[in-house]
Symmetry: C2
Amino acid sequence: MNRRESNSATTAPTLADIEAAAARIAGYVHRTPVLTSHRLDEWCTATLAFKCENLQKVGAFKARGASNAVLGLDDAAASRGVATHSSGNHGAALAMAAQRRGIPAHIVMPANAPAVKKAAVESYGAFIIECEPTLVAREETLVRVVSETGAEVVHPYDDARVIAGQGTVALELLEQVPELDVVVVPVGGGGLLAGVATAVKALKPSVEVVAAEPAGADDAFRSFGLGERQPQTNPQTIADGLRTSLGELNFPIIQRCVDTIVTVEEESIVKAMRLQWTRLKTVVEPSGAVSFAALLEHPERFRDRRVGVVISGGNVDLDHLPW
Amino acid sequence: MNRRESNSATTAPTLADIEAAAARIAGYVHRTPVLTSHRLDEWCTATLAFKCENLQKVGAFKARGASNAVLGLDDAAASRGVATHSSGNHGAALAMAAQRRGIPAHIVMPANAPAVKKAAVESYGAFIIECEPTLVAREETLVRVVSETGAEVVHPYDDARVIAGQGTVALELLEQVPELDVVVVPVGGGGLLAGVATAVKALKPSVEVVAAEPAGADDAFRSFGLGERQPQTNPQTIADGLRTSLGELNFPIIQRCVDTIVTVEEESIVKAMRLQWTRLKTVVEPSGAVSFAALLEHPERFRDRRVGVVISGGNVDLDHLPW
């Protein structure tokens, strides 16, 4: 291996970084299974391989990037702990990774975050710092926490270590299903998409990478079309994990490695989610169903092709299902 | 391989029969994944490996036994087709297997069977013969269908070919998780239990086999205790797949190869089902959750042990969830 491995948070990761991440996090995260369904293949007139990151630790691919960031710290930095602001899966993932390494995690959360999300973070022994539910308050609070603790900030997606970790999804998928024509990935902040696209284009450049985004939070679609990063304001989608804006580090990677971004309507997301529950028997959250929704909404694009469909997560409130 | 393989429907299957079944059905059914959860391990103070037959074709282990029976027929018998009476997963499984072999399947179903269950059977191209919703009417109708068609009857559990097929669950589980102390299996008619117990005791006699049964349909528990097969009358359980009585061929196998049968309350079944949905992100039907319910209700029996937990199926109506 003579490709250089970078450990920077701010330089786009290479295949070597993703391979190093895979070695680093092995044993800390699950190698998730790939599920298939003859019925869904018939439905879509395509051959589908669902990569189930909803079966990942903490119920989402976020466990990969967070683990890679935490495990890659040197001992001195690690001893000061890690910090982030998050109301979602990344907070729990970072708390989980920090607990495994035995270092402190400081998670800034809005005071109005759901009790179950706080409980998830607390269950991994992290410190929760509450703040007002605005982005400014979250960022200011995080700066204060870092100045007090010296903790290393691990951003949920705009961080090369996190992107490299998420890219390990693609290493596994290409091993598990060597013959693919196209891979479909949901896009929110772009951590998963940038990592997967980097790995796919390095290993199998002929495989098309398609990103799927809710039409009601289509900043990546617009940014990609305009060639300039557009912010997401007032997102309107059930896919709560995809309401964020594309990251600064993520965007040029996506420009370079992604072939297309397609949008999907809300009703397609719910339909895809329910089909995955009933046919694949797997619990998928709305954000996680956006990739399959792209197949339902744009069938002509995928007809008679071998499609890797990344299911990104499965954290959903069973008492509030969208049907 | 010098162990004799039997192809009889009425002689208890041997390990050789189960191994032959595995070879026969390979490529026709899924090798289902094993899922693990650190959280559920902590919860139970045990090391759990969930064998996910809810991810099997047609959503249940029934695909194995039905496929083994259909694929094992000689061409002359196969050409006359197969028949059964079923209002559940076995009917769909037999229809699926027959369709794969290109032979007719005749499924006797009560006229009041849910439309979705009829649609599932029809979707595999089977003939549905409706009858009054009584066991007598079902059996009489099946006799008539067989006399008219010459089809081979494949009983849902009281059939050695079916038992051998279901036993392939254990071959896979013991390969996937070689170090187990105990295997927990739901019991209804006893096809899955007899097959799994036969394989486990032949391959690893030191592994304990525990059957789990709803307290409201405890004929296997009572039969096992009394040493004589007791019928199930008026079953009261949400676990609709386990309301049936233990089969005639199944009972002596269970007496010989099963170590214990435990019963579980309804609230444990619902709790287990919901925990598997939320923690394992996998859609489990009530019958499929009975094995994990045994761990929740009898924790002392499993403490600090390595436990294989068979999830038997995942066919559930998402519009009528028990919470």
